[in-house]
Symmetry: C2
Subunit: 319 residues, 2 copies
């Protein structure tokens, strides 16, 4: 389960805290059903089926929130709707199985443009080996209401296990798979529209490290917030080093932690590190320590300063 990301600058954020809502759902979701192997609260849920395990996740793409439809080619709108859900599959080091899409469109959206949007979602899904097997289309009553797409992805574990957010251990190194920050630039039309979900790389990382790979997440809300998801689920503290954070051009570590929408992987691994996996550079950015009583789940050390960083990232808040 993901909290909603936001393309607005923080000053414009509105609405209640979504993670409080998600916490309610996590806590009250009973796992009395023995088939539920991973309940809400990780990148994907997992259920035991006859003879196999299935992972599933859903994400939404909302006009004006995650993308500005009027300014963005529809092929990229559809692509992003799909890739942000596919990125959840990467975060579990799993393999795509199939997807379903639902869209509510303004009544004047136009048939041709609706087709273009769905074609982009389906073609993107196919490119990642995740065929579209179902969907739903509806129209708003009012042309001013925004497009809402939801994409559900289904996946299977690769090998004996999936990599959850929980499981990071004291002494682990925290790594990321690429530079961060500035994904929405220029003007909301940046890399968040064109990133590659790290599905293959995640499988290579899981295969290379085996049991030493303890936890993983995709960086959608910003490294600060996403690292804190790992730390909270693992009951540890993550200490990041500001000087080690790989940053995109024009971004400092604060932007790298805060901007979000990078869709790189962040993982916790024990023992010796490899600097490259599958042609991608792996950047160690911090380490896992014991959680101090009442201490923040993520801190970042910038020269002499140690700064609480769990909340650096995107979330809607009350103004």
């Amino acid at each position: 389960m993901e909290v909603c990301r936001q393309v607005d600058p923080p000053s414009k954020l509105s609405g209640m805290r979504e993670s409080a809502l998600l916490q309610h759902i996590y806590q009250s979701t009973s796992r009395v059903d023995r088939r539920v192997l991973i309940g809400p609260g990780d990148d994907m849920g997992m259920v035991q089926l006859t003879g196999t395990q299935l992972l599933a996740a859903v994400d939404q793409l909302i006009d004006g929130r995650h993308v500005i439809v009027a300014k963005t080619p529809l092929s990229l709108v559809g692509r992003k709707a799909m890739t942000r859900s596919l990125s959840d599959i990467a975060a579990m080091a799993a393999a795509p199985v199939a997807c379903l899409v639902a869209a509510t469109l303004p009544p004047d959206f136009g048939e041709e443009r609706a087709n273009e949007l769905f074609d982009a979602m389906r073609d993107t899904a196919r490119q990642y080996g995740c065929p579209l097997i179902g969907g739903d289309i509806a129209f708003h009553k009012d042309a001013s209401y925004p497009m809402v797409c939801s994409v559900t992805v289904l996946a299977e574990p690769v090998g004996p296990r999936v990599i959850t957010r929980g499981g990071a251990k004291i002494g682990d190194t925290i790594c990321v798979t690429g530079p961060m920050g500035g994904s929405l630039e220029p003007d909301g039309l940046g890399r968040h529209l064109t990133f590659e979900p790290r599905i293959e790389l995640a499988q290579q990382i899981a295969s290379h490290y085996g049991e030493r790979l303890h936890a993983m997440i995709d960086i959608s809300d910003g490294l600060g917030r996403d690292a804190s998801h790992i730390a909270k689920m693992s009951d540890v503290q993550i200490r990041l080093n500001a000087s080690s954070i790989p940053c995109n051009p024009g971004c400092d570590w604060r932007r790298a932690l805060r901007d979000g929408e990078d869709y790189e992987l962040c993982f916790a691994v024990a023992g010796e590190l490899k600097s490259q996996i599958g042609g991608s550079e792996i950047h160690p950015v911090g380490n896992v320590v014991e959680l101090p009583q009442g201490g923040p789940h993520v801190v970042i050390k910038d020269r002499d300063l140690t700064i609480a960083a769990s909340d650096m990232g995107w979330e809607h808040r009350k103004d």
Copy 2:
């Protein structure tokens, strides 16, 4: 895949024809992936997993379209969001596995009410053995924008096969599992909020008839339109008898065909019929004949009149 249903009277319908859009998706969805056993276009898609088969479907519930949130207890809004997707599992005679929910809410929806909505979805799902394993929450920018919920349900086949919309054969009898019409009354607050998805009954029907059960659908868009889905997928004509249609109080056969939102089952079966299955009365309402060249997929015989009925049901159209 479902076309969007509509709580407005037909005179207010607006928007393009959604089934044209769905047709585009069905036709262009290549089934090159051998794992895809049922692609878009049936009540659920189906994929082959390692050692088992998985069914999946997604449906949306939109404020002002399928429910009027301001007039409806939130417990029933959440319940309907879930039951209309669970009804797709019934339509395949499958067994629930798990579900995922996504919701976009107005920014002033309120945390307590959001919790209430999700509690209702989760509790309804649990009641039908379909645990919630994931979800997403986001907020609209503007308080005037409507709630959009999407619910994805996952299911497994019961026994050797699932019952699709295709497969009805000439000579089959068309049956329904209960009376139809008037589900939205009174004033949008009727049975569409409280119906029971026919999951157990569908399995009993499949178990009783075995190979003789050829096709099945849940009646969401109205018997006229839903019977035509069976007829089109089976390349046959369905002839309904007006006097055999079980109607809810205050409804004639035209309402039974048109109103929609009944969520009873409609199925095609060969050979001897049973009048009751699992305590539910089974109503034979028509039969399957050869499709005349260019003929309508569904006709209804009312005394001396034979009326094309494929399009009797809910769909958004251009005004």
